[in-house]
Amino acid sequence: MKVIVIKYNAGNIHSVVHALRRLGLEAQVTDDKEKIQTADKVIFPGVGEASSTMAYLKQHRLDELIVNLKQPVLGICIGLQLMCRHSQEGNVDCLGIFDTCVKRFEPQQAGIKIPQMGWNTIHNLQSPLFSPDMENRYVYYVHSYYAESCAQTIATTEYMHPYSAALHRDNFYALQFHPEKSSELGEQILSNFLNIER
């Protein structure tokens, strides 16, 4: 199986490569359009700022490429946010794969920390990424912005209010949390993604 990790100007894209390696899979990190288009699975990971990463994608015409992919695609963290319609971070229009907007967490009281950093639980799980025994279990998050819940939400987490922990439409999947840093549970979710048939 050929797994491609899209190379762009976001940070920490290598941690997902390490996680795949722990699953016995050697992924290729590249921005080569043909390689991305012919891959069996495409992963769109990273941490970073929405408007600058979106500008980079446009400049390298990776935006059109991503929305037209037909194989299973998995966005992670900023990857999920860029796959939404719009982000408040830098007030930027994103790829529009998911019909929802990305907003900043606004603490209503003292003591609520931004970013949300650490382990939180996932609920209302749907799609082949998850199995019923994963309900209420912990995954690792680092983020200051979140995607609002919508019809394409396939998992929710609560931080001040519920939001999209994961999204799905057609061949596109996305996770706000970091499966590559979420211990055995995260590896199971990655493995479930790799097992999705085209």
């Binding site: 941690s15 970013p115 650490g118």
Partner: protein, 253 residues
């Protein structure tokens, strides 16, 4: 609900884990990769690796270690020690670290925090502060592994670090570190109330009640400890079961 984090800290010298008592007199405590993996399996929420060797050779060994940890461990880990400039951070993040912790370099050159936040993002940047409660009742910041006092006060420096783009504050009380009498809960609560970024309590854990107090009284987001874990005095599953019983939200595997 977001869980409170338990973070074992591994001090590494020449590729081996050591633990200092009051920052001197080191004792050996095992292979850092295996130890980290064991903690991860027991339910540690994150790991911190601190490079306490200063030499060029030692730093190279540490980078190799970071690479090995990244290849084996599936929870987040922070690395610190001997970081002076962006090139050091780039090297460690490329080797697979999730976050870097800076201490002396940040106090001597605060704009380093801005640079890290701008180049890699705030979430990568942990600012570690070693401070000591002085006789005048003020918390004074120290650099160079606790050897040199500076004319900076804990809260004032923590707020500046936050404004410059720190993602977390890791506060070690030198008055409490290594003596196992508990974390400095009043100072922690003061930091937690004034800061909008997470606070990691470090230094002083001797028993499970100390962890509870750091979370309940100190309002810390995470608690870091070393020797109580390394020498098996506290087992992480027991600690989490205890904290849960005490009403603290912790991650169960």
């Amino acid at each position: 609900m977001l869980a409170k984090r338990i973070i074992p800290c591994l001090d590494v010298k020449d590729g081996q884990t050591v633990k200092g008592v009051h920052f001197v007199n080191f004792r050996q405590a095992g292979d850092p990769v295996e130890l980290g993996e064991a903690y991860s399996k027991q339910g540690a929420d994150e790991l911190v690796y601190l490079d306490i060797t200063a030499s060029f050779e030692g730093r190279k060994t540490f980078t190799d270690l970071v690479r090995k940890v990244a290849a084996r461990i599936s929870i987040p880990f922070t690395v610190g020690g001997g970081i002076h400039e962006l090139a050091d951070i780039d090297r460690l993040l490329n080797a697979g670290a999730d976050k870097v912790s800076i201490n002396t370099a940040a106090l001597l050159k605060p704009q380093l925090i801005d640079e890290i936040a701008r180049n890699f993002g705030s979430q990568m940047c942990v600012v570690a502060i070693d401070a000591k409660l002085e006789e005048d009742g003020k918390w004074r910041c120290y650099i160079n592994g606790g050897r040199k006092p500076l004319d900076r006060e804990l809260l004032e420096w923590a707020l500046e670090a936050q404004d410059r783009g720190a993602g977390e504050i890791l506060f070690t009380s030198m008055s409490h570190d290594g003596v196992k009498t508990g974390y400095p809960n009043e100072a922690l609560a003061m930091l937690a109330d004034k800061l909008s970024i997470p606070v990691i309590a470090s230094g002083g854990a001797g028993n499970m009640e100390h962890f509870r107090d750091a979370f309940v009284l100190g309002k810390a987001d995470a608690a870091l400890a070393a020797s109580v874990f390394h020498f098996g005095e506290i087992k992480i599953p027991d600690l989490k079961a205890y904290l849960k019983k005490e009403g603290v939200i912790v991650r169960e595997q």
